[in-house]
């Protein structure tokens, strides 16, 4: 017993180092598995607060460009609104059913990163605004990511520029679907994998969300095909998609809540069992 205590006292620095290093490793491994980083994330009172106050200043600097982006979106929405052809001849709507599948919440990005291999954003909406895990996040130009952790006032978003994120996407023209992954090389490009060999591809084709998951609705724009090649086994294409979104400058985003997500998920889980 004496010897054990002596050993601990003699090597206390090394033992402490081992202990702290393993704690750090646990946090690291958690952060590399999807939806596991419970403790160490920036959606908390201190870091969220500091990022908020700094962002208040930065907002003024970017005011002009962000205004232009919002104006552009407004004009797009207006063009959709005024180009609707037959507003009168709509089919009868059952008033007991609201018909709303997706609810949108506006939010502002406080913190954005794009140079790491696992990028995470911080936004100013949290549990208080009924934001929960697995809601989708888009900007006016395309998809941004998926909500991960939420605190009362803030939430972290797993960016599409993150090696743990896999989002289902399809080719707009031919409906062939695959999943989006990121090879960490450039924040401008993202890779669409598992597109079958027979799919007809042309440079410049649009890639959109497939709507196969409960997170994103169908046909949210992602990007255009920049280049493509067959994988090693020559069965599937890996496509480099140039994002519509400039992930390096994102400020105004929208959070999408799928009203039927819970119902759909229970149904799928029940079927699987």
């Amino acid at each position: 017993m004496q010897q054990i205590i002596n050993f601990i006292i003699r090597n206390k620095a090394f033992l402490l180092y081992l202990l702290l290093f393993s704690i750090a490793m646990v946090f690291t491994i958690q952060s590399h598995s999807y939806h596991k980083s419970k403790f160490i994330n920036s959606a908390n009172f201190l870091t969220g607060g500091i990022y908020k106050s700094v962002n208040d200043i930065n907002e003024y600097v970017n005011l002009k460009t962000q205004n232009e982006i919002l104006q552009e979106e407004n004009s797009n929405l207006k063009s959709i609104l005024f180009n609707q052809t037959d507003t009168i001849n709509k089919t009868f709507i059952d008033s007991s059913y609201s018909g709303i599948f997706y609810k949108f919440y506006p939010a502002i990005v406080f913190k954005n990163s794009y140079s790491l291999s696992n990028n995470v954003l911080l936004i100013n909406k949290g549990k208080k605004d009924s934001i929960r895990q697995d809601f989708g996040v888009i900007s006016s130009k395309g998809i941004v990511g998926i909500i991960d952790n939420t605190s009362n006032k803030y939430a972290t978003v797993i960016s599409i520029l993150n090696t743990t994120s896999r989002i289902s996407a399809k080719l707009k023209k031919s409906n062939h679907f695959g999943s989006l992954v990121w090879n960490t090389k450039s924040p401008e490009f993202i890779q669409l994998t598992e597109i079958p060999k027979i799919a007809p591809l042309t440079k410049g084709d649009t890639v959109v969300t497939s709507g196969r998951s409960t997170i994103f609705p169908k046909n949210i724009p992602i990007g255009i095909i920049d280049s493509y090649q067959l994988d090693a086994a020559e069965n599937f294409y890996t496509i480099h998609v140039k994002l519509f979104n400039d992930m390096t400058s994102i400020e105004h985003v929208y959070i999408i809540e799928n009203k039927d997500a819970e119902e759909l998920n229970t149904l799928i889980n029940n079927t699987n069992e």
């Binding site: 206390k12 620095a13 090394f14 402490l16 180092y17 702290l20 290093f21 704690i23 750090a24 490793m25 646990v26 946090f27 690291t28 491994i29 958690q30 952060s31 590399h32 980083s37 160490i40 994330n41 920036s42 908390n44 201190l46 870091t47 500091i50 990022y51 700094v54 913190k111 990163s113 794009y114 140079s115 790491l116 291999s117 696992n118 995470v120 911080l122 972290t156 960490t184 450039s186 924040p187 390096t248």
Partner: protein
């Protein structure tokens, strides 16, 4: 004694804020960021309680991780260089360090550069290995380590020169 505690607490807070609010947005050439916060570990007083020092370094790394949503990568790298620091000190400064009379203000530039370089490279290698977490991307890890280290070392040396007290 109190002034030392005050100086280092102040340095801790300033370095963390500088790191997360300014330096992590530099993204030179798309992905290079200097990690100046390790200056706190590099310049920590030589006569210290080793256990407290290791613990403080862990706390420093963890605070950075908290801001950057990076899990525990900075904490792991910081605690490692804090543990290895006495050996690196002995290696780079030799006899001067053994006599316990050394001060960072008046050491040879060459030995100081060696000391900074060794610890920075170790720190960055662990940082990027854990962050990328993929053995097949070893080239990317080494490339990031090399370039970021150069960036960090230059910035560390400049900072120590600018803020050195004239005797």
């Amino acid at each position: 004694m109190n002034s030392i505690i005050f100086t280092h607490t102040f340095r801790f807070i300033i370095l963390v804020l500088l790191q997360v609010l300014v330096l992590n947005h530099i993204n030179f050439l798309g992905y290079l960021n200097p990690y100046l916060y390790i200056l706190f570990i590099l310049l920590y007083p030589l006569k210290n309680n080793r256990v407290v020092f290791i613990f403080l370094s862990f706390l420093l790394g963890l605070t950075i991780d908290l801001f950057l949503d990076s899990g525990g990568v900075n904490a792991a790298a910081s605690v490692t260089i804090a543990y290895l620091r006495p050996y690196v000190l002995k290696f780079s400064f030799g006899a001067v360090y053994d006599h316990q009379t050394m001060k960072f203000g008046n050491v040879e530039f060459g030995s100081k550069l060696t000391y900074f370089t060794i610890l920075t490279v170790i720190h960055h290698f662990i940082l990027f290995s854990l962050e990328i977490f993929n053995v097949s991307k070893i080239i990317l890890i080494l490339q990031n380590t090399l370039f970021s280290s150069i960036f960090t070392i230059i910035l560390c040396i400049l900072t120590t020169i600018i803020f050195s007290r004239r005797n």
